[in-house]
Amino acid sequence: MRALRKKIQDKDLELIIGQLLRYGVLLSSLIVVAGGIVYFVRHGYQQPAFNTFRGEPDKMRKPVEMLKAIGHGEGRPLIALGLLLLILTPIARIVFSIFGYLLEKDYLYVLITGFVLGVILWNF
């Protein structure tokens, strides 16, 4: 009986995680599309310049600067925000899994998952 309950919890948790990922991708795609439209309206007829690497300014890399630039009606920082959200979806999944393993009292996997989360966040 206990084994059965554990099985159900496992499955439920996985389903929630799956949905979380799907909606995360959907939402971030919508933001990217919105940003893309603004970008086309503002810069659609200019020349693209991706053949030399220059790196990106702060407003494409840092959330606070991104939001400021979006407030000024810029398109590319809005795309960048969508991309940031996309990058965060698998990270949210990891956080969710940690809670799941805590509920199951599977401390070995709390530790393993916590380590993975630590590696990701340490480099952000």
Partner: protein, 278 residues
Amino acid sequence: MTVLVFSGLIFAGALSAGLLGSLTGLGGGVVLIPLLTLLFHVDIHYAIGASLVSVIATSSGAAAAYVRDGISNIRLGMFLEVATTVGAVAGASLATHLSTAMIAIVFGAVLILSAILSFFKNQDNLVTGPGSRLSQWLKLASNYPTPEGRKDYTVKNVIGGFLVMNVAGVLSGMLGIGSGALKVLAMDNIMRAPFKVSTTTSNFMIGVTAAASAGIYLKKGYIDPGLSMPVMLGVLTGAFMGSRILTRAKVGQLKKIFAAVIGLLAIEMIYNGIHHTI
């Protein structure tokens, strides 16, 4: 060429890459980066950044369906992510120190490896019984659905699989690809997990591995929104279309053609790398 035309062409190219990648199981990144660098003359750093973003999108987008079917082994994936995330961070840091030419050469070599790996035979003889002590301790045994009902399996060679996963992580972080072929090799051929379990668990892992290097890419300014937008949307659309066709199409012939294309792109990348024309 205006931004509008350029973005439209990139979207179409990314869509084809995503479609072919999902039909053949090789992923979109392997053909996307040569396309961007060789055809559109995009700097390889920007190409890698845009590819990594699209890798996360397809992995996360597809995971929901696999999880629902109960095929992927979450504990196995989570444990192996220790190896891939550490590798990805190392690979991404390495990429920031390598020259464009050097990255192109390594990329070409990995392309050839991926093309060869795609012809490896699936190992579908299940490992049953109690499994090794390490796999017991890590609770890696599970079951998966087959036409004859759910079947139990366990895995072996945990350490071997872990080490290959580490290499897969390094390549993913260094080149902005999912390294799906190598991840499947580690689980299927080395750890002897069922093929279906290996491919779906690999897909599940790819997003987390990519997220580990995405932080570094973002900091270094590899992820350009203007370029990543059509790439990500194109690959995602293509992969979605591919998952709809996959159940019906015969992919044997397609796989051979795709492997040949990848081989040619690989030679082109290596040639351009050696002559510093990339």
